[in-house]
Symmetry: C2
Subunit: 691 residues, 2 copies
Amino acid sequence: MDLDIELPLALGMLGGLFALVFAFYKSRWILSLDVENEKLRKIGGYVAKGAMAFLFREYKVLVPFVIGAATLLLLGNKGVLRWEAVTFAFGAICSAMSGFFGMKIATQANMRTTEAAAKSLNLALKVSFAGGSVMGMSVVGLALCGITGIMYATIHFFGRDPYNFDHQILPILSGFALGASCIALFARVGGGIYTKAADVGADLVGKVEAGIPEDDPRNPATIADNVGDNVGDVAGMGADLYESFVASVLGCMILGLAANTDDIIKLRLALLPLVLAAAGAVASAIGIQCVRVKEGGSPQGALNKGSLIASVLAALFSYPIFYGALKGHTFNDGANANQLFWCTVVGVSAGTLIGALTEYFTGTNKAPVNAIVKACETGAATTLITGMGVGMISTALPVITMGAAILLSYNLAGLFGVAIATVGLQLTLGIQLAVDAFGPVADNAGGLAEMAELPPHVRATTDKLDAVGNTTAAIGKGFAIGSAALTSVVLFAAFKEEVGIQSIEITDPKVLVGLLLGGMVPYLFSSMCMMSVGRAAFAMVEEVRRQFRTIPGLMQGTAEPDYGRCVDISTTAALKEMILPGLLAILSPATVGFLGGVQMLMGFLAGVTASGVALAIFMSNTGGAWDNAKKTIESGVGGGKGSDAHKASVVGDTVGDPFKDTAGPSLNILIKLMGVMSVVIAPMLKLFWGL
Amino acid sequence: MDLDIELPLALGMLGGLFALVFAFYKSRWILSLDVENEKLRKIGGYVAKGAMAFLFREYKVLVPFVIGAATLLLLGNKGVLRWEAVTFAFGAICSAMSGFFGMKIATQANMRTTEAAAKSLNLALKVSFAGGSVMGMSVVGLALCGITGIMYATIHFFGRDPYNFDHQILPILSGFALGASCIALFARVGGGIYTKAADVGADLVGKVEAGIPEDDPRNPATIADNVGDNVGDVAGMGADLYESFVASVLGCMILGLAANTDDIIKLRLALLPLVLAAAGAVASAIGIQCVRVKEGGSPQGALNKGSLIASVLAALFSYPIFYGALKGHTFNDGANANQLFWCTVVGVSAGTLIGALTEYFTGTNKAPVNAIVKACETGAATTLITGMGVGMISTALPVITMGAAILLSYNLAGLFGVAIATVGLQLTLGIQLAVDAFGPVADNAGGLAEMAELPPHVRATTDKLDAVGNTTAAIGKGFAIGSAALTSVVLFAAFKEEVGIQSIEITDPKVLVGLLLGGMVPYLFSSMCMMSVGRAAFAMVEEVRRQFRTIPGLMQGTAEPDYGRCVDISTTAALKEMILPGLLAILSPATVGFLGGVQMLMGFLAGVTASGVALAIFMSNTGGAWDNAKKTIESGVGGGKGSDAHKASVVGDTVGDPFKDTAGPSLNILIKLMGVMSVVIAPMLKLFWGL
């Protein structure tokens, strides 16, 4: 039995180390580039400093939380499960590190991309994409090393039988996932509030009231705005996908161990996701290396080619892995390697399709955004109504796609098949995240070009990359919500497995009450996020107005604004405002579980998923569509900049900001976090309710 | 056993006849009042004619639908269940009639209220409330007579054993509920689109562009606007609560018959809701008669007093009814008359509490609306963000109240207890609906006063009543969503009973897929409603602009606008646009049931409820809060009329219109309709899937 465990663990660990080394090599390359322009270096330094300052202050706020939660896990658990307290803290640290590495390099890549853009489009793409790659590969590497590290340690201490896995190793591992989830939630919510408070402040006062262009150095909030892009879009997204990855691997392990087959195959199934993820890391690295564009070529085409190569390779790698693990054995009523391979294909296809649907509903030059552009001509009210109509209708096809993926993979290989499809969807996370994170880097590079007053052709080059980044961001959001929905379904099944209840009857009134409550919580959570952005933005607006009013020579460009005050306001507000929604997300499953029982908690999870997935898609897509409607009008359609239609589109975009960058993506984490939390407290609930 | 059936049926029928006679007597009194002012009579006549014309054209559109659906029920069913086709048509006709009666009298009461307002506040209250009472009592009367009529006929043909009830009588009765639901859905959606298209058209062009006051006779859309209030708020709401009442009685009968006790008690439980409803009709009538206000008194106080008297009487009446039916017998593990009495109290209290919460979150001079008023000062975007934040947070307490009501009543008397709480919530429907419908009558009376150019004190009097009407409307909306949520839970349990499946496992992937799909459908449906309003309003805006442009002397008041064209545009648009959302609501449960199976349909219903209840509360309350924020600013706060804050609040109110008057209330029906539909197709699903 030894090789059955040693080999997958070793492969998983090697894959993780490979990813980390790859990220290290990429980051070395980026740092080796010089930043010659002094002004650029200075302003880029401000942004980097602001971003790191925020991250450190955020982590400082979270330290007492992590200690408190770890203490609760220590007190609430019995026996070896007390180790959950340690893995929880370890998960939190790993998640924080993945945000830290990604952002550290992203803020360095920003200014180097600006400098590269002065030379050629291709070099700029290379630098910005390398910045994204560091993020993507560190996330994968930290996840794999963290999980396999815990597995090695726990196997060493407790043993390697299915019993140990079921009652000791996987529960302790779930603490790791919970740590990652909690930090991810705070990072997403805090980063989302930060970036939108700064953005709204910069736009409303700078662009609308003072009438100066975006990223103009005279705007006091402009540094905060650029810092926000890093802490929200880079660090927030990294933590988000880190937790998605860890949670889906955990869920997959639990369902592998619960498969209907003999013990040795169960163990092999449980360890499969580690090997798959390692293969995915290699496939991602190859894909990343393939992203090259000839002079005058299309950056979008290069990114697509890299992603496609990675996906195809990952799928091809998966077949021998499945075959090697199962070697003709079957599980769950006859499923074998072939079925698992098709589950992977289902997962990859579902992710791609949801991404494409997101791009259709939010992309420029497509019917939905054009409908909003037309509505802008009749004012803000019709802009809002049409935008929300588009966002609501855009929920239909992605949800149907998710449903089809679940049914197909379940029919192929039972619940474990659904779990493999979920892991499959995230197999090439390394390159997906690189493609995703490249957007904010390019966006920031453009901001820096503006602030450092570089010649217009530099900004033109970064704008080209930024436009590509908007498309990839939309696709990435589709992937993120798709993986969140599938992960939550997997965790749902895993929770039932962990709590050991045979049957949860859907017409049990406790389940129904849980369902209603769960359906409501995403609204309460989103409300908190949006209100927080409102309050933080209000403080920012006041400060920017104050600076314009009281600093003489600011508008003439003879005096420098106080960037630091704005950075500080965003930071303080975000850290204060992230607490309440964070606690709601973390405490509500425990409250429902301990007050209402396991049945009510199951209904609650079901309600959160049913309502939260649709609400998240609605909010993200509505915001994205408004953003692109504004961009379309700014490109000259329907009256262009300064027209009434443009003003209406700015209102839409401003409302959409907390939709798409704060509440929407935070809901992704909420949905998964509740599932992870339930898995973690399952043993305590069993004790508490005497199950 | 005869008296066990004969007596409740006879009491139910008598209660229904009593309610109809009461409504007839009230309507005779209204019609006996003269309308002396000729201009008022003429304009009131336009509104009445427009409203009736819409209703007739709507019913004409629905005739082929009813015939088609009845044919499907005829072909899809076997044996005696084919009678469902007949009861379906009968239910549709009764629902149409309740809309017709209510609106016929409301449009007559409008102008008489205006005339009465010239004399005294009290007389105006009396007339407008009498108009609402006709609506309320006809709904109750038609529901009770319809249900008992079908029961008499089916018992006569099939027999009176529990077997007959279970396999013949109640399934056939469910056809009646489905007919009522379908018409209610079309009435709500069609009426909602009509009223908002006209409202937006009248506001955007008349008030904002041309700068003339609300209800100014120079505005071509003003008649359509007033017609809209009648077809949307009166006829739509009547049909809505009609179906809620019928569906909850049906669900209660099914769960009574499924109670765990001996056959005779089962039958008595099943017939209990009829007797309760009859007692509720009497209590409502007494409450209505108590609504009197002395000169200078408060209309709100009078309405509250009437409602309170009715509620207390209904609760008091219920105890001897429960006692008489059970006489010391018990069911569902020891529940007896006492427990059922407390279930009634739980239902009444929950309804009142949800109403009060709705009033808090949407009412003027309360913190939530004041927060929106403050946000209006920083522009449309912050108005929108804050408003939606308020609407989202307002979902929490009502849902928790619903959850508590379900748990309490279930613990008292099992699922039948939940059903009794649901019926209890609607026991005084007669007066609740009267209070609700009084608002639009008073609102219309004010519009007529303006259009007929009566002296300002008339409008001042109707404005006082209208303000009261806004509060009662908010409370009524709370009641409506509360009853919809509880009814859907009852129907959910009833469906499981009808389909005869022992256990529906919540982690079955089919259930999970149904859950995700169900969570999405309310968004798709709302999107269709909002887009429809957008398109219809666009056509209206174009037409009103055209008239202002091409009719010479219109602005000077020397030429009359072409009111008829605007009425026609609203009518045509509403009838065209209601089809698609209507079909989605009606066809989707059948599609899921026949393609995905009973498990997926159960998950689907659960998902629709979890997501739809929260979305409905969010949309209704957001819209209501924006409306009152605008009214607050118009009363002089934060800059008053014409200020930038006012403009921002108008944007909020315009976005809120389709939220609160089209999509939100239509969702109430959607949730219930899906449950009724599932109960109706349960026998076919059993055959189809061989259960």
